[in-house]
Symmetry: C2
Subunit: 339 residues, 2 copies
Amino acid sequence: MTTMQEVAKRAGVSKATVSRVLSGKGYVGSAARERVLQAIEESGYRPNLLARQLATQQSQTIGMVITNTLYNGSYFSEMLSHAAQMAENCGRQLLLADGKHSAAQEREAIAFLLDLRCDAIVIYPRFLTPDELDEIVMSHRQPIMVLNRRLRHNVSHCVYTDHHAASASAVSQLIALGHRDIAFITGASGSPTAVERLSGYKEALGQHGIAVDPARIVEGRWTPDSGAQAVALLLARKVAFSALVASNDNMATGAIKQLHDAGIRLPRQVSVIGFDDIPTAPFTVPSLSSVKAPVTEMIKETINKLIFMLDGGDFSARSAFCGQLIVRESVTTGPFYPF
Amino acid sequence: MTTMQEVAKRAGVSKATVSRVLSGKGYVGSAARERVLQAIEESGYRPNLLARQLATQQSQTIGMVITNTLYNGSYFSEMLSHAAQMAENCGRQLLLADGKHSAAQEREAIAFLLDLRCDAIVIYPRFLTPDELDEIVMSHRQPIMVLNRRLRHNVSHCVYTDHHAASASAVSQLIALGHRDIAFITGASGSPTAVERLSGYKEALGQHGIAVDPARIVEGRWTPDSGAQAVALLLARKVAFSALVASNDNMATGAIKQLHDAGIRLPRQVSVIGFDDIPTAPFTVPSLSSVKAPVTEMIKETINKLIFMLDGGDFSARSAFCGQLIVRESVTTGPFYPF
DNA sequence: TTGTATGCGTTATCAC
DNA sequence: GTGATAACGCATACAA
């Protein structure tokens, strides 16, 4: 690899001059500039970004922590693609780290990105508690944004959707359509998102004077298979339901398959609604409606906020970026089979 | 940020000793080691990986070039997730760069990763020609792997699927099932993959003595919408077909919607088959079969090969990694609605 | 077993 | 305008 030193020698100048030509900072004679450019051309010189990052103390990278097995799907695919694109547009590079299967590993992933001297970090947490995330945000000088969690203290450092409200709203819509027997498939236990969606379901029922029937609630594990199993269990219990709310689209898909196999006509006999893990779900899956959060907007706001801070935006100043950010969800009906 | 120097001072030793403790290389007294570890603990020291990379001339990163708008989907999502996971398992970090919308930008992305001193690079090309890729592979000392393209000279540096054969095989299966009027939706013009799948279709027809009817071939743009439009065009032409092959699952999905809307019974009146861009497609889309390439295996082999080279594997030696790698595709029928 | 010195390839601060 | 020279934080060959 040819270095700046060699370019300097070839051009008959010093490293400093070469550096000035490349950065465009500082004065440099047009004659010298010409020779330097030619030397660069001839030698095929390429700057070593690692050295530059070390010298400038800026890596121009944004780190992102996501559990790898989780973002295997179009939800995170969309998130990643937008994040990477926006980062590049601002001259930054996106760095990925796997949160893996525990809080310890999630901590490790963050530490790793920090060791790499990322200028900022985005976390889509799975195991870390809001309290610990609050502490992490405060104990580092790098800007850190947390997705899908509501932080107590650093409200301006998190972006989340109100799963409770969205779920309640969806269930209310079903009730408005005349449904009273509404079954519910929850997400994996331990997931805050699952808890919120379930509580929204219960609240909506309560508000309309409908009793919550434990027999109509089944637990799934976010997967299509578990959604199918949940329906099998509901059918085995012989409880009636004219509508079914699954806590994500994956489970809704499995549920629909199982209902169909059981000879139940969709959406005539049972209406099914899911949540946003598969943006294209309402389009490809018959009889499915879905509550979708604008993932795109969410990640865009997040990256924008980070860039704003990195570029010296005064964080405590009065600004559009200083408030908290809550993304609203809404029910989407696909064009394939209307709900 | 506390540096190694500060840790050394606190422990009453030199930087070198601290370095030895951290790396585990070289001798170090147990007394000194103890003091160093304590000093690290107390100061909350974290190594600067940038500095380490510069000093060791090894970044421990693998760069990956993909067109961002292209990998917005579960196909690339799966690829990325596995790549990132495998890289981490081998102590490496995955670095993403966007190939964007032209050959020049694809070249730029590669150069950027090289400037970052990636130890190796994976390219899923969109615009660069096999010939230029061949040259890129040869003109760099870093191991470079090319996905989904067949290189003339560096056969051991590429992994690809035989789209022609897979397409021919799928069409042959349809013919074996009794179909003779088979329509075809090609991918976007300019895509080598699209060309190969079309030629496979033509060959299969020819082998069974069926004439290729240009009226039964329509061009799409890989999107569901374009698939729907293609079907509309076919119907407008009033050509009969009992089977439809779409060059990817996205278009197949749109096609199915359009056929359904036109009152055509699926799969009774028309059988639809697509190709692998949506791994879950046969599961969620009714009446769809799909030709799937094992993306997971593909990327795993690729990363393994790279790691093998990085870890000093003799590239010209007799080894499982030295031959070329062709991934076989096969027709998959989803459990949702049998084909 | 430990410390010293030098190198990695830049940037940035000075004098000149 | 330009050129030494000192950081940047760590690794490592060599000396002690």
